[in-house]
């Protein structure tokens, strides 16, 4: 019986086909291209829902499908195969669902851009690559999807490539992702070298045979890859710059889906991490450090999208922290990923709506009082805001609170460290998000004309933009409760990450943790409201506070990158250039000169005279006959 689960490849093929059509059809597709883009993603979403229902009806809850052999060299055999299991199913729904909303939103947002068709082509390409990433059944196919989303992200950040900032942001994202990708590639090489396979089933079955050093190395390399894609410390600097792309891109790729690929990878590779406590500890450290970095810098930024970008970074830090804790926390990482997908995408779309009204300005110091003129945006944005700070009973509460709880439960000093960091992060999140909310939507109108422009006259965005925002707001409100009620998500994911177990002993009483978190959040909200209720200066105040200065400069991440990667790279390159020009080029040029000289001389044999040609042939014949005669007399 053929069912939806036999044609999973359609999920990927539809948006991919649409991307190809949109790219090849040229201007002819300008009028209907965006509808095709939306329709294919909608079709994928419907297929995703059907597949989800079909999977629910099955008992084994895992479907593998081999499409064709991709590589068959020696013992390396890689099939293009798909794996549809509870984890993939959740991601498929997230990617196609949020993707569909953002596609619809983009119709309105990009309406005045002459390259809208190209935009939808890239968005479709992204959706296809991301689906391939989460549907793969081996690490090589994951890598293909991994590079595919990287490419789409690069193309979309640089969508307005004529803006120098966008072009250099795209380059930065590309290069920093490369560093991470090398980690993923090395991890795959190590798996193949030690286990002889790259398929999930083969690798996970063989993890027990790996030495602990190998398992740790593979885990840390995977973590490096995840850090690059997810904008985690120390590869975080590209993510805020990526906000130079169109806002729907920020919402879809750099908030809801692509940047969470790192979390997916770690949860998917949970058997490897389970085998190496050291690697798990590394994941926790990366998560905790990043979540603090994101919060601190987020407090000092005045660009609405950058604040949200640092917020994304810090929320993904929470997910990494959860993934690193392992066991029941894997499901929490995915839970937070899903709720974050809703509220962060909603916040970004709200930011886009604000920018739409404010003539593409992004400085929150020049907003204020927008709730009056953009009520729908303010309400949806506000719901997202309440969700992200973790106010019960909105989504963020159900996903963030248990993560902090589990962080405290970690035995030893690390529990206190990670739990404390997560708690502090929750308070800081409340602070900077309240600041963003208050400065944007409430208080005095501090509107100012952009350089050389007119004073903006903000008004509510069209329904094609507000409707997706509304849908995401509903998700921000309800998703957390629905997914965590009676451990719905944990049970669903149990076949992949292991069944949820009730923690035997909590280090701290759950209620204590919850109340401390709520206390920290309230503190953050109150301080921010008190500080910014009267508005703020229109320009950055002068300060000597070293923390603020550091935060304004992104905690010197760019300086460190410059010193470590760029200078070192430039120095290594100069050495290589020297070796190349003196050593390699010398040899090659010499050989080339020999070839060229020979060619020029031999060319004179090609006289054009039949008589000399036949002489050449005759010489050849004589040579052949002589050679054969040698064979006879030998």
């Amino acid at each position: 019986m053929s069912s939806i689960l036999d044609v999973l490849w359609l999920l990927i093929a539809l948006p991919l086909g649409s991307a190809v059509v949109l790219l090849l059809a040229g201007r002819r597709a300008d009028r209907w291209g965006h509808y095709l883009g939306c329709a294919t993603v909608a079709a994928s979403f419907v297929l995703g829902v059907l597949a989800f229902l079909a999977l629910q009806a099955r008992t084994d809850r895992s479907v593998e499908e081999t499409l064709f052999r991709f590589l068959g060299v020696g013992s390396l055999k890689v099939d293009i195969g798909l794996l549809y299991d509870p984890l993939s199913a959740v991601f498929v729904l997230l990617i196609t669902g949020v993707g569909l909303l953002i596609h619809v939103y983009s119709i309105g947002y990009m309406a005045h851009d002459s390259a809208r068709r190209r935009f939808f082509a890239y968005l479709n390409l992204f959706v296809a690559a991301m689906l391939l990433l989460v549907l793969a059944n081996n690490f090589v196919v994951v890598y293909i999807g991994w590079e595919g989303v990287g490419l789409a992200s690069y193309l979309l950040i640089a969508f307005w490539y004529y803006k120098p900032a966008a072009a250099s942001a795209a380059k930065k994202a590309f290069l920093m992702n490369r560093v991470g990708d090398v980690g993923l590639a090395l991890a795959i090489f190590l798996m193949f070298a030690n286990l002889g396979t790259t398929s999930y089933s083969g690798v996970f079955a063989g993890v027990g045979n790996l030495s602990s050093v190998t398992a740790t190395t593979v885990g840390i390399l995977l973590l490096l890859g995840a850090c690059g894609k997810s904008g985690q410390f120390p590869l975080q600097a590209w993510l805020p710059d990526a906000m130079e792309g169109p806002t729907p891109v920020s919402a879809l790729i750099h908030a809801a889906t692509m940047v969470t690929a790192g979390v997916y990878l770690i949860v998917r590779a949970s058997p490897i991490f389970n085998a190496s406590p050291t690697a798990q500890l590394m994941v926790c450290i990366v998560g905790a450090v990043t979540l603090l970095i994101g919060c601190i810098i987020g407090c000092a930024k005045d660009d609405i999208k950058r604040v949200l970008a640092y917020s994304t970074m810090s929320q993904i830090g929470y997910m990494f922290l959860a993934a690193g804790l392992g066991g029941p926390a894997y499901a929490l990482a995915i839970l937070h990923l899903l709720t974050h997908g809703f509220f962060k995408a909603g916040l970004f779309l709200g930011a886009g709506s604000v920018m739409h009204g404010m003539k593409d300005q992004t400085d929150i110091r020049r907003f204020g009082g927008l709730a009056r003129v953009m009520p729908a945006t303010a309400i949806t944005f506000g719901l997202g805001y309440l969700a992200i700070i973790g106010l019960p009973p909105l989504s963020g509460f159900f996903s963030k609170d248990p993560i902090i709880q589990h962080a405290f439960d970690r035995p030893g000093w690390s529990g206190w460290a990670f739990g404390g960091a997560a708690l502090l992060g929750a308070g800081l999140t409340a602070f900077y998000m309240t600041r963003l909310m208050v400065l944007t939507f409430f208080g005095r109108r501090r509107w100012a004309a952009a350089s050389g422009g007119q004073l903006p006259e903000p008004k509510e965005s069209p329904w094609v933009m507000t409707a997706p925002m509304g849908a995401l707001a509903v998700g921000s409100v309800a998703a957390g409760f629905l997914l965590s009620n009676a451990d719905a998500l944990s049970n669903w994911l149990a076949p992949v990450v292991g069944a949820p177990v009730e923690s035997v002993a909590h280090k701290l009483e759950p209620l204590t943790v919850t109340w401390s978190v709520l206390g920290a959040v309230m503190l953050g909200v109150v301080i921010a409201a008190a500080m910014f209720a009267r508005g703020t200066a229109r320009s950055e105040p002068v300060t000597a506070n070293p923390i603020v200065l550091a935060a304004r400069r992104n905690l010197y991440a760019d300086v460190i990158n410059e010193a470590v990667f760029v200078r070192l790279g430039a120095w290594a390159m100069r050495v290589l250039v020297f070796v190349d020009s003196r050593g390699v080029d010398g040899t090659i040029n010499g050989l080339a000169a020999v070839c060229g000289g020979t060619s020029a001389r031999l060319r004179r044999l090609q006289t054009g005279f039949v008589r000399s040609y036949s002489l050449t042939m005759l010489v050849g014949v004589v040579a052949v006959i002589l050679a054969f005669s040698l064979a006879v007399f030998r």
């Binding site: 064709f68 052999r69 080339a592 070839c595 060229g596 020979t598 060619s599 020029a600 031999l602 060319r603 044999l605 090609q606 006289t607 054009g608 005279f609 039949v610 000399s612 040609y613 036949s614 050449t616 042939m617 010489v619 050849g620 014949v621 040579a623 052949v624 006959i625 050679a627 054969f628 005669s629 064979a631 006879v632």
Partner: protein, 554 residues
């Protein structure tokens, strides 16, 4: 014709002189050859009796239909493994694979030949020896110097008149005769039939080479050279056949193989002289290597490829190559496999010399068609690398390579047809400078073909080279692999130089422009490009087919 040939062969073989009886002929097995041959004969009738206006359309449809039918017949015969016409023709899986390749590539070549939009009246001269005012290049077709500036001629005059330009339609039956000869050539199981097929395929090609509408002298010179040198090579071939008959007392491939294995059969006569065998073999091989364009029997290739009308160059580069290597493979695998230790070192040397010659001489070429000619010589060397291994892997790699190379070179020459100036095609590569600025699509397609020639992964150039080199490596012929890889690397230079020229150089004021070709040419280029891509990305099915088909009937 086949029937009479069969009768002739039967008469040769019949034990009792005088009692001639017709041999049994499996017409179904011969149907691909018969269909194409029939279409060629029908084409002559059309030429004589159809109205002038409709002639071209009829000829074109006839040729395409015949090739499609013949292709269907090949598919229908798939799996056949028999000899017919008294063992003179062998229809086996390898032979059918070669036949299928020739038909598919021939079909694309016919599409190029049918091009009318680039040049009024097509690329072919109507009067075989019309008035010619083109600059005489003397006897010297000295490498690459005569390409530019030779224009005018009958075509130039004709196109300046606004009246209807007469079209040469004889090219279609001539092409069909050549293709029929090739189809027979790759299935000939008997040296005499092979010789007849060789002549059937060669004579129309000699004519076709001389039919260019532009640069008449160059074209006629090419035809003359090809004819003289071809006759020279045919003489070697025939002499080789005679010596081998003297050795084995028979000209059938199986009979000679038997004689090598067990000594000449007493009923047939023949002298068990090793000298006769090796002398005959060497002369036979020379004749075949000439057609394949292997060094040192390659000298005709650049001049003829350059002078011939470009669609005919494409036909020769793609189809003749398949035919020549089909015959070489059959002769080596069926007939002389037991004498391999004698000929293999020699053919390995030939392969090495061919690769090196083609690659090194390609560096200094300034004419795009001559560049492709030297590239085809080098490729002949690469193909020979697979063939001389005498293994099933080598044979299937050879078959795959021939198809992949055929698509590539057809497509590239199709692109060459579209880059033109007032004097016809602009073949000097300096005229291609900055082409990408004016015609990014054409430059892109050409770049793709050049990358495929260079053997970049994801093109069929990579998979096919990988196939032959791995076959050679598997057979322990490391020297071939090393020289082959070096030659491929050297060849990357001339290919990429053209790419750089197209993209990086400023277009000169008199740079050539791209004219939009007609539908058939566009189709041929598109098919060539798609096949090159498909065989590079997913070579599996064709490799599988080739390896299933890598079998000759003994």
């Amino acid at each position: 014709m086949i029937e009479s040939l069969g009768a002739h062969v039967a008469a040769l073989y019949s034990a009792k002189p005088g009692s001639v009886h017709a041999p049994s002929i499996d017409y179904a097995a011969l149907s691909p050859i018969l269909i194409v041959l029939g279409a060629a004969c029908l084409g002559i009738v059309v030429e004589a009796f159809s109205p002038r206006r409709a002639r071209r359309a009829i000829q074109f449809v006839l040729a395409v239909a015949a090739l499609l039918t013949a292709g269907a017949a090949v598919v229908w015969q798939a799996g056949a493994n028999l000899t017919t016409a008294s063992g003179a023709v062998a229809i086996d899986s390898a032979g059918l694979f070669f036949q299928g390749s020739i038909i598919v590539l021939g079909l694309l070549a016919v599409l190029l030949i049918a091009e009318q939009k680039l040049e009024r009246g097509g690329a072919f001269a109507v009067q075989p020896a019309g008035p010619d005012r083109s600059v005489s290049s003397g006897t010297g077709g000295v490498g690459g110097t005569q390409g530019a500036g030779v224009a005018g001629g009958a075509g130039g005059m004709a196109s300046s008149e606004s009246v209807r330009v007469p079209t040469n339609t004889e090219v279609f039956p001539l092409t069909m005769f050549a293709l029929a000869g090739m189809l027979l050539f790759v299935t000939a199981n008997d040296l005499l039939v092979m010789f007849v097929a060789l002549e059937v395929l060669s004579l129309p090609l000699y004519l076709l080479c001389g039919l260019a509408r532009r640069r008449r002298l160059l074209s006629q010179e090419a035809a003359m050279k090809y004819f003289l040198l071809g006759a020279f090579a045919s003489a070697f071939f025939l002499y080789g056949v005679a010596l081998l008959y003297g050795y084995a007392g028979t000209v059938s491939l199986g009979g000679i193989a038997g004689a090598i294995a067990h000594g000449p059969s007493p009923t047939l006569g023949g002298h068990a002289s090793q000298t006769l065998l090796l002398l005959g073999l060497s002369l036979l091989i020379v004749g075949l290597l000439f057609k394949a364009g292997a060094a040192p029997f390659h000298s005709w290739t650049p001049d003829v490829y350059q002078g011939a009308p470009t669609p005919i160059t494409a036909l020769m580069a793609a189809c003749t190559k398949v035919a020549a290597f089909g015959a070489i493979a059959r002769v080596l695998y069926i007939c002389f496999d037991k004498a391999a230790q004698d000929w293999r070192p020699i053919l390995i040397t030939v392969a090495i010399v061919t690769m090196v010659t083609g690659a090194v001489l390609a560096i200094t070429q300034t004419d795009i068609k001559r560049l492709l000619a030297y590239s085809s010589i080098a490729n002949a060397g690469f193909i020979l690398t697979g063939t001389v291994t005498l293994s099933a892997a080598g044979l299937s790699a050879t078959m795959f390579y021939l198809v992949a190379y055929g698509f590539m070179t057809l497509g590239a020459l199709g692109v060459v047809m579209t880059v033109r100036d007032a004097g016809g095609e602009a073949n000097h590569i300096s005229r291609w400078a900055g082409l990408a600025r004016r015609s990014p699509a054409v430059a892109g397609v050409m770049t793709f073909f050049l990358l495929a020639f260079a053997g970049i992964p994801l093109t069929s150039g990579f998979t096919s080279k990988f196939a032959v080199f791995s076959a050679a490596f598997g057979a322990g012929r490391l020297e071939l692999v090393i020289v082959g890889v070096i030659a491929s690397m050297v060849l990357v230079f001339p290919y990429l130089r053209l790419v750089v020229l197209m993209y990086a150089a400023e277009p000169a004021a008199d740079s050539a422009t791209v004219q939009l070709p007609g539908g058939p040419t566009r189709l041929a280029i598109a098919v060539g490009a798609l096949a090159t891509l498909a065989l590079g990305v997913a070579p599996g099915p064709l490799l599988q087919l080739a390896s299933n088909a890598a079998h000759f009937v003994a």
